[in-house]
């Protein structure tokens, strides 16, 4: 895919995203909101993956942000809109503290610990009934943000996506790209070239976790409630991961493509076969992984320049 074509496609998609509320009905808008949420999560997960660190804790930081937002409104009387950046800050701060502990771990051990932390967050919120509402959950007394206006909620979701997208593109074009790729490729060479591995990982972890918290805040304010099972759902970890992989990892474009694929496939399948569509969903994941090991974007790039072998 040459650069000009990519730019045209990106511009068209951007224009589509902005024009969608004017063009589409409430249902496509709602689906788009769901897809954009997962897309943003997939992008943030990929941002950390660019350093080689595989997080299984997306749902943990997402859920933490969700509860920070709704409890900020209920317990601290914050306005709903202000609770969303607060959620981002809260998850970022949590990531800063746990990052100090866990960012020296590598490989599967890092993954497992992030997974365990997500579970710990869920259990703590589950058990602090009086403050968090416990397992039954908690409802925002003022209801859904912006009075539930479909277009306002769409803009909010698009805003969340824009933050993730902006951060990801910034990562690709700044020192982050060099630092994270160097860490992923060879930590020793990176460190003797002056890369402070721990600091860059910490910065990346804090930024991506902050965005995940932000998205949690957006989610919770868009529906006006939180329960431990809904906001710490394993879906928020596994689906973004699957989307990023199916689309293609280590870049911004792949997760976008993967999220569109899985998000749209999931809704479309449901219309075709109300009972049993989830089987086909699983099979799609299997087939894409088997036949497009580098994801949709990897395949597209390979087709665009077949002469060159290994591109990245």
């Amino acid at each position: 895919m040459n650069r000009n074509l990519a730019r045209v496609v990106a511009t068209l998609l951007g224009a589509l995203a902005v024009a969608l509320p004017a063009l589409a009905g409430a249902y496509p808008l709602q689906v788009a909101r769901n897809v954009m949420l997962y897309m943003a999560l997939a992008i943030t997960w990929d941002m950390l993956l660019r350093s080689g660190q595989i997080s299984f804790g997306i749902a943990g930081l997402f859920g933490l942000g969700a509860y920070a937002s709704i409890l900020g409104v209920i317990r601290a009387g914050m306005p709903a809109w202000a609770s969303i950046p607060f959620a981002a800050a809260f998850s970022a701060l949590a990531a800063l503290l746990i990052g100090y502990l866990i960012l020296r771990l590598r490989g599967m051990y890092f993954s497992i610990v992030t997974l365990a932390l997500a579970e710990i967050f869920r259990i703590v919120i589950h058990n602090l009934h009086d403050f968090t509402g416990g397992p039954e959950g908690i409802v925002a007394p003022q209801g859904v943000i912006f009075g539930g206006s479909a277009s306002a909620l769409y803009w909010l979701a698009l805003g969340g996506l824009a933050v993730a997208l902006g951060a990801s593109i910034w990562f690709e074009r700044s020192k982050f790209h060099f630092a994270l790729t160097a860490i992923r490729d060879n930590e020793i060479a990176a460190s003797t070239s002056g890369v402070n591995i721990f600091s860059w990982l910490l910065a990346t972890f804090v930024i991506t976790s902050g965005i995940q918290g932000l998205l949690g805040g957006i989610f919770v304010q868009s529906y006006g409630f939180a329960t431990p099972d809904s906001v710490f759902s394993a879906d928020f970890t596994l689906l973004p991961l699957a989307m990023a992989l199916l689309g293609g990892i280590h870049g911004t474009v792949g997760p976008i493509m993967g999220a569109v694929l899985l998000g749209v496939a999931s809704e479309w399948l449901k219309l075709q076969m109300p009972y049993g569509h989830l089987v086909v969903y699983g099979i799609i994941i299997i087939i894409v992984i088997l036949f497009m090991p580098r994801g949709l974007y990897g395949l597209a790039r390979k087709m665009a320049r077949p002469a060159e072998g290994r591109a990245e």
Partner: protein
């Protein structure tokens, strides 16, 4: 990329963009279709639609039920409402089971302000709170009892049973509750309603349901055994039913009354030796076919059409939702919300669940349907209704037989 765009295009084309206002009245039904309650609920609702259409429809129009899957998730549930409201242009909604999904629908329901006859969602802490008070939530007709309704009806039921059967005496109650939302709200309600004015001594302990990866009840059963309750009650899921009994037997825990309150029971529970005289909370059982003609009519029609038994009362609630809605539309002569709400407020529907459903205010909302659950007992492999007495199919067997 090309592929993704193609998929997107197909998805957009596949959504018919035209409105259909002809000779049908469209109703949207939303359930979690991968769950037995949703699968059978949607099936029972289709049965009701078929029956109504066979007898001439509603005000000369046929009913059409359009079913959507909420996958048990709030965001998917919201999308389902939007799809039914804007693409299919349904005129009313039915359905619902899990509270966590139902609460995702409420903003969209409120936006369209069409009548909803809800068949599930018992959590007052989130669903009723999210609905909010009248008149904002007047479009919402909630058939299933709230968690506190259930607790109150059990307290009432046990008072009545003890009065009628003096040999049954309950002083101490132990509740084993699964640690999720369902169990926790049961525990709150039990403490509140049985613990009031110290008529009963209450204790309880949480356990992890087998549904969520638990399945070892030793700690909670030992706590229960030490407490020596007259009534042992567990609030969990069908997956917990037999393992709990087996593990109770293993530690020789033999309360006089052993009572379970899962939303459904495992297949073939009645044929297990351990099921003998276990009591349960519920709304319906096939044994009611003998005393209740509406129940028998529903049961026979359902089994004939689908060649399986309705496994839980959620099938009946969905069936009732369609019938109640159809009666309301008949009376109102329209699906316009204000008129339909008014018509539904006059509902007096003789349900196959063995009671007449009317809508009365509950703690927050204005239109609450059923408030009572039933107390039943497994006798000789069948669920017999013990209370309310007007629906009773058998007398209680007491005490719970000790293990041999």
């Amino acid at each position: 990329m090309r592929k993704a765009l193609a998929l997107l295009a197909i998805a957009l084309i596949a959504i018919p963009a035209f409105a259909q206002t002809g000779d049908t009245i469209k109703i949207g039904g939303i359930w979690t279709l991968s769950d037995i309650t949703g699968k059978q609920g949607s099936a029972a609702a289709l049965l009701a639609v078929e029956e109504i259409n066979k007898s001439g429809g509603v005000n000369g129009k046929m009913l059409e039920l359009i079913i959507a899957d909420d996958e048990g998730k709030a965001d998917k549930a919201a999308a389902a409402v939007e799809k039914l409201a804007t693409v299919d242009k349904v005129e009313a909604f039915i359905g619902g089971m899990a509270s966590g999904a139902e609460v995702g629908k409420i903003p969209a329901y409120a936006k369209y302000n069409k009548v909803v006859v809800a068949t599930g969602a018992a959590s007052s802490a989130i669903v009723e709170k999210a609905l909010g008070p009248s008149p904002g939530s007047d479009y919402y007709f909630h058939l299933h009892p709230w968690d506190y309704n259930q607790g109150a009806s059990y307290a009432e039921g046990w008072d009545a049973i003890q009065k009628k059967f003096p040999s049954i005496k309950i002083k101490k109650i132990f509740l084993a509750y699964e640690e999720g939302a369902f169990g926790k709200s049961s525990w709150d309600a039990t403490k509140l309603l049985f613990g009031a004015d110290k008529r009963y001594t209450i204790d309880g302990a949480p356990f992890k349901s087998a549904l969520l990866g638990g399945g070892d009840y030793s700690a909670v059963l030992e706590a229960a055994k030490d407490f020596k309750p007259d009534l042992f009650l567990w609030a969990g899921y069908d997956a917990d039913a037999l393992p709990l009994l087996e593990q109770s037997k293993a530690i020789k825990f033999t309360p006089k009354i052993y009572l379970g309150a899962p939303p459904g029971w495992p297949i073939g529970f009645g044929s297990s030796k351990l099921s003998k005289n276990v009591m349960l909370y519920g709304m319906w059982s096939p044994s009611m076919n003998d005393t209740n003609p509406a129940s028998k009519k529903f049961y026979d029609a359902y089994v004939k059409k689908y060649r399986e038994e309705p496994a839980t009362y959620f099938a009946l609630l969905a069936y009732d939702a369609v019938k109640i809605l159809a009666d309301g539309i008949k009376l109102a002569g329209t699906t316009e919300t204000a008129a339909l709400v008014k018509a539904l407020e006059a509902t007096k529907y003789a349900s196959p669940l063995g009671e007449t459903i009317t809508f009365k205010p509950s703690n927050i909302i204005k239109h609450q349907g059923i408030t009572r659950q039933k107390i039943l007992q497994w006798q000789n492999g069948f669920q017999e209704v013990l209370w309310p007495f007007e629906a009773a199919t058998a007398a209680p067997v007491f005490p719970f037989p000790a293990w041999k």
